[in-house]
Structures are given as C-alpha cells and as structure tokens.
C-alpha cells in the first residue's frame, strides 16, 4: 500500500521529460537569484515566466497554485517551485525546481556567513548595522500591520489575534519557555472548533 503510494508519486524519470526538467531548473535558478524581499515579489515573476512566456500552466491553475502555496506551511517560493515543477514534469520536475530555487540563496548566504563576523568587526559596518537593526523592527512591524489591515475582523479573529499578541509579548518579556508553534496549533484547533460548533448550532436550528 505504502509502496504503491510512493510509486504513484515518484515514477521513474521518462526520457522525454529531461528537456523540460532542465528548463524548469534554469527558470527556477533565475527566480531564486533575482527575487528580493520575499514571496509576493516572486509570484509576479513566476506568472510572467510560466503563464505568459512558456505557457506551461494556465492562469486558473496558477491562481490555484498561489492559494495552495499560501495556505500550506513553508516559504511561498518553495511551495510554488514544487507545485509548478510537479504539474509540468512530475516528481523529478518538482525536485529539480525546488533545488534550483534554493541554490542561489544557499551560495550567496553561505559565502556571506563566512565573512560576516569579520565584516561586523569594522567600526563603520557595526555602526551601519545599529541603524539597520532599527529598520528590521520597522519592516517586521509594518508587514504585520499590513496583514492586520487585510485580516477578517470577526470576533474569533480579533480574539485570537489579541490573545496571540499578548501571549507572545508575555512569553518574551518573562522569558517563559513556550514555543510559538503551540500558539499556532491552538489557533488551528480554535478555528476548527468554532466551525464545528457553528455548524452543529445551525443544524439544530433547522430541525426546529
């Protein structure tokens, strides 16, 4: 049974798909190397490349892909690479695209990490990073506020949001050891329970 599942997902590579896999690899290498500032910038680039230029997937499927990438964990870029790779050239396409999109990051960051400490030892660089630290705080806060503006403002959302902010601030300031992963899990359970309860209530209402 398990073997069947694995075989269904990972078939042996076909000869005919080599060319497609290589061009997927190159396309994602390029996307990995030129997308600054997170997933959403990359989505526009991917659409131009795969929907308009190469026509490997159509617009509707692309929109589906974005929705899937957003609602599964992990970086959007990785999710998109795996999905587009799989739909155009199967398992090996997915593997090739995912590796390709990571390679530029890996090479650039690994190289920087080798010199970073020496780089920071320079007084000017250290001063620059004092300023940059302020900027990082601003970027994180403004990203959060942007998402907050788009969030649905129903009671459950507002309660969960406020509880998460309060819990996380307290955890940090009082140095409590409690992983934020549990907060995410609590959120999922709350969402599911609210949905189940409201469904049960509306069914009860119908019966009357």
């Amino acid at each position: 049974m398990l073997f069947f599942f694995i075989y269904a997902i990972i078939p042996p590579m076909k000869n005919s798909s080599y060319k497609k896999i290589i061009s997927l690899f190159l396309a994602f290498l390029k996307t990995g190397a030129f997308t600054f500032g997170g997933g959403y910038a990359m989505i526009a680039l991917l659409e131009r490349e795969f929907v308009e230029k190469k026509k490997w997937i159509d617009h509707d499927e692309f929109v589906d892909m974005v929705a899937i990438a957003e609602s599964t964990p992990g970086p959007i870029a990785i999710n998109a690479a795996t999905y587009i790779g799989y739909t155009t050239a199967g398992f090996w396409g997915a593997l090739g695209s995912t590796i390709a999109v990571c390679i530029p990051s890996f090479v650039v960051i690994y190289t920087i990490s080798l010199f970073f400490d020496r780089f920071l030892a320079n007084v000017y660089v250290a001063a620059a990073f004092k300023g940059i630290q302020v900027c990082v705080c601003y970027l994180i806060l403004s990203a959060g506020i942007k998402l907050l503006k788009k969030m649905k403002k129903e009671p459950m959302q507002i309660i969960l949001f406020s509880a998460a902010v309060l819990a996380m601030v307290c955890i940090t300031l009082f140095s409590v050891r409690f992983s934020s992963i549990f907060l995410i899990i609590i959120g999922a359970i709350t969402g599911l329970s609210v949905w189940l309860i409201s469904k049960a209530l509306s069914r009860k209402g119908e019966r009357r």
Partner: protein, 193 residues
C-alpha cells in the same frame, strides 16, 4: 543530542510550522534559536537584515545562515534541507493525490484560526524587538535596571517612518525594503560613528 541532528530537526520543525510568508516564521525561528543559545537577539536581527537584502526566500536564507554559523557547511546544508523538506512533501502530496484537500471546509476553518495567530506573532515579535533596540529591554525578569532609552535609534525609527510615508504619498507605492535598509545603514554610520 548531536548538533547536526539538532539543527536538522529544529529547522524541519520551523519549516513545518511557518505559515504566512517570511515574517511569519521569524517568531518560530526566534524562540527555537534563542532558547537553544544558538543566537543572541542582536545576531538574529542582523541575520534578518542580511536575509532581507539578499535574493531568495527569507526562510531559506535564515536557515543557511544559522546552520553555517553554528556548524559550518554541513550544518547549513542540513538546516536548508530541513526547512524546505516539509513544504516539498506537503505540496507533493497536495499536487499528486489530493488537489482538493485545501478546499475542504474543515481545513479552511483551521486556517482561519491560524491566520490571526500568525499575524499576532509577527506584530508581537516586531514589538519586542523594538523594545530591545530602542529601550534595551529584552526581559522583565533578568534585565531589571538595564533600561536605557536610545535616542539615536528612536530618531532613526522616526526618520524611516517619515521616509516611508512620504515615499508612499508621492510615488503611490511602498518603498522597497532594500532601499529602506540602505537608508538606515547610512543613518547608522552618521549617528553611531
């Protein structure tokens, strides 16, 4: 536990629970790496700046950076594979077997609960980082008395907000994070040197 195994498993966990793009995972990275003593708050903030101003997903950049600084090239490779693997497997399953999984009402309901929590985590992380950078407060228990208001960083924050608001007003779009990081670096050199 073996350091390599620990790095791999930690980033596997981070990859599996980071919803909502790059900033969503910062809270998770932060409490994993800080509690293990792999990073200090200041190093973490520096890493975020580097990850933000180089190409590629922030998550992958952070994983490579932390892995490399803790355990060399093998560490960075393991961290990167770890952070990517959950996405890869989940998307493969979704694309291959259950394309409609995410349209199930139950899954959507759970995600409705996850979203506000993640937004809350991002804002709380930004808030506590600001406390640390501007007021030097990182903990209310251990750091009593070390409160120190940093006028220069508060000034930089004020300037950045001003620049971002003016930019949005005249250019009709948000200023790019990289340009903003560059401006703040220049401010840093002027104010702190």
């Amino acid at each position: 536990m073996n350091l390599y195994l620990d790095i791999f498993l930690t980033f596997l966990k981070i990859g599996a629970f980071s919803f909502g793009g790059g900033y969503g995972m910062i809270a998770v990275i932060r409490d994993s790496c800080l509690s293990k003593g792999w990073l200090t708050e200041e190093e973490l903030i520096n890493f975020i700046a580097v990850a933000e101003s180089t190409p590629g997903p922030i998550a992958v950049n952070m994983a490579t950076f932390v892995g490399s600084s803790r355990a060399g090239v093998l560490g960075s490779l393991l961290a990167t594979v770890g952070v990517v693997l959950p996405s890869f497997i989940i998307i493969l399953i979704v694309a291959a077997l259950i394309k409609n999984l995410l349209k199930l009402a139950g899954v959507q309901a759970a995600l409705e609960g996850v979203r506000p929590v993640v937004i809350g985590l991002i804002i709380a992380t930004g808030f506590t980082m600001t406390l640390k950078v501007i007021f030097n407060v990182s903990s209310l228990i251990s750091a009593v008395g070390s409160f120190r208001f940093d006028l220069r960083s508060a000034g930089i924050l004020f300037m950045l907000i001003l620049v971002a608001v003016i930019w949005k007003k005249f250019k009709k779009k948000s200023i790019s994070p990289i340009l903003l990081i560059f401006i703040s670096a220049v401010c840093g050199v002027i104010f702190y040197k």
